[in-house]
């Protein structure tokens, strides 16, 4: 397949293609991690094998929170510097965060059906996570309908700041209800991982590492895609300018 000059120009603008190694590393770690989750970690005494969903649930939730923290930082960065790279980081991280939070909610719900006998309950952590998910889904709506030029980016950044700062308050207000979520087993006053069998903790940590690497890989792929879309739109607009046609393809640089 012949690569045109334009394609090369777009690729050059989008930056170097590094994510491939990260993706393979992430996938490899996930295979190892899930292998450990199923075969290496011992069966939990009361919950039995249903507890093993924990090795998907906790890493997903972690990546969700991590992604939204990145959105918060990138949003502040964007508001103060107006650099497109911050905006792309916030956008990419919002998307990935929503996907992994969805995964955490679904896996938690499946587990809850088994352990609590109900798919859903308004426990503080569940409710907070669900509100969190809603906020970032709305943020994707703002991206889609937020208006022309840099406006959508600016509005999404404002929401990225407000939403993240709101989370502790949401949690506090929901805690004012009763709690049903299992108590923390990893980070506890008695010491890190003291509530877990060592093999369980190892399996969990490998999975958390695997999911984190996958997040970084997805993040770089998505950012690069967006940067390429920007570069492509810019090239198209340049063409149109040269040809004298008036319409422009909407990107932030051009509009």
């Amino acid at each position: 397949m012949a690569v045109t000059t334009q394609e090369r120009a777009v690729a050059a603008k989008a930056g170097p293609d590094r994510p491939a190694t990260l993706i393979w590393l992430g996938l490899g770690l996930i295979v190892i991690g899930q292998f450990m989750a199923v075969l290496y970690a011992p069966e939990e005494v009361t919950m039995g094998n249903a507890q093993r969903i924990f090795y998907v649930h906790v890493p997903s939730a972690w990546v969700g929170y991590l992604a939204f923290a990145v959105v918060f930082g990138a949003s502040i960065g964007y508001l103060f510097t107006r650099r497109r790279s911050f905006d792309l980081a916030a956008y990419a991280s919002t998307e990935i965060g929503v996907v992994f939070t969805t995964l955490a909610i679904i896996s938690g719900s499946v587990w809850g059906r088994y352990a609590w006998g109900t798919w859903w309950t308004w426990d503080p952590r569940l409710t907070t996570t669900f509100m969190l998910w809603l906020i970032y889904v709305v943020s994707l709506m703002v991206r889609a309908y937020g208006g022309v030029g840099s406006q959508a980016a600016r509005f999404a950044a404002v929401l990225g700041v407000i939403g993240f700062l709101d989370i502790p308050l949401i949690h506090l207000s929901v805690v004012w209800w009763r709690s049903l979520h299992p108590l923390p087993v990893v980070v506890r006053p008695e010491g890190f991982g003291s509530g877990l069998h060592p093999a369980m903790l190892q399996a969990l940590l490998v999975n958390v590492a695997a999911f984190t690497v996958l997040y970084v890989a997805l993040f770089s792929v998505r950012r690069r895609q967006m940067a390429a879309a920007d570069a492509l739109a810019e090239l198209k607009n340049e063409d149109h300018r040269r040809a004298g046609t008036q319409w422009t393809v909407g990107t932030q640089e051009v509009s």
């Binding site: 508001l79 509100m131 809603l134 906020i135 709305v138 709506m141 703002v142 309908y145 937020g146 208006g147 406006q151 600016r154 509005f155 950044a157 404002v158 929401l159 700041v161 407000i162 939403g163 700062l165 709101d166 308050l169 949401i170 506090l172 207000s173 929901v174 004012w176």
Partner: protein, 225 residues
């Protein structure tokens, strides 16, 4: 011009506009009454049930009425290019936020003064003995709703889907207000000692302070062209 007189001027502007057209207040008040009626159709509560249902009905009504008012808040500013003029206002731009928020709060409180007695009459609950704590919780809740709502109102008016976006933005972020408001109101109506609803009042107060400050700081970013 001092900050206070600038804010006062902005509120006076919105008030004058509203007194001429009366469109926002009328719409909010009628809508609030209607939703109170619809709730009673939906649940047809006995007096005993009404005590447990009223907090939820009250706050849902308030949240909807507030959304209705807030969605109009920046429509005129935008359609008549008033925002351009406001931008030229020789003062800190963040004061525009305080002015708009104060006007929105005033409208919401006026509607609440109407809807609270109406709900008491419809549901047959004596609210008068609980009036003071109830007023405090409603005031704190309203400040919170308006503080966040004014930010999102300025945002959504500039988008393609306008009125649709505002509630979708507002309700998840304002959920602490609704949760604490409902719970505190329920506690007050059940005659619990004030100490028991204090956590809720505290959350409302923190929410108010945080979002008024945040709105003040962040509003500048919404006004750019």
């Amino acid at each position: 011009m001092g900050a206070l007189s600038a804010v006062r001027l902005l509120v006076w502007k919105d008030l004058t506009l509203e007194l001429r057209t009366k469109e926002i207040l009328t719409a909010m008040a009628v809508f609030a009454l209607l939703s109170a009626v619809i709730f009673n159709f939906a649940f047809s509560p006995s007096p005993a049930q009404a005590v447990t249902l009223l907090p939820g009905m009250l706050w849902v009504t308030l949240a909807f009425a507030a959304t209705l008012g807030l969605s109009r808040s920046f429509v005129l500013e935008r359609d008549q290019q008033c925002l351009e003029a406001l931008r030229l206002f020789p003062t800190d731009r963040s004061l525009i936020y305080l002015g708009k928020a104060a006007a929105n709060l005033l409208f919401l409180l006026l509607v609440e003064a109407l809807i609270l007695p109406a709900m008491a009459v419809i549901s047959g609950i004596a609210l008068l003995p609980h009036l003071l704590p109830l007023a405090l919780v409603m005031l704190l809740g309203s400040i919170g709703l308006v503080a966040v709502g004014t930010i999102f109102s300025a945002m959504s008016v500039n988008t393609r889907i306008r009125e649709v976006l505002l509630p979708v933005l507002l309700f998840p972020i304002a959920s602490p207000v609704l949760i604490s408001g409902v719970k505190a109101t329920a506690g007050i109506l059940a005659g619990r000692p004030l100490l028991e609803v204090l956590p809720g009042v505290r959350i409302l107060a923190v929410f108010d302070v945080m979002f008024v400050v945040l709105g003040y700081v962040i509003f500048e970013f919404l006004l750019e062209e």
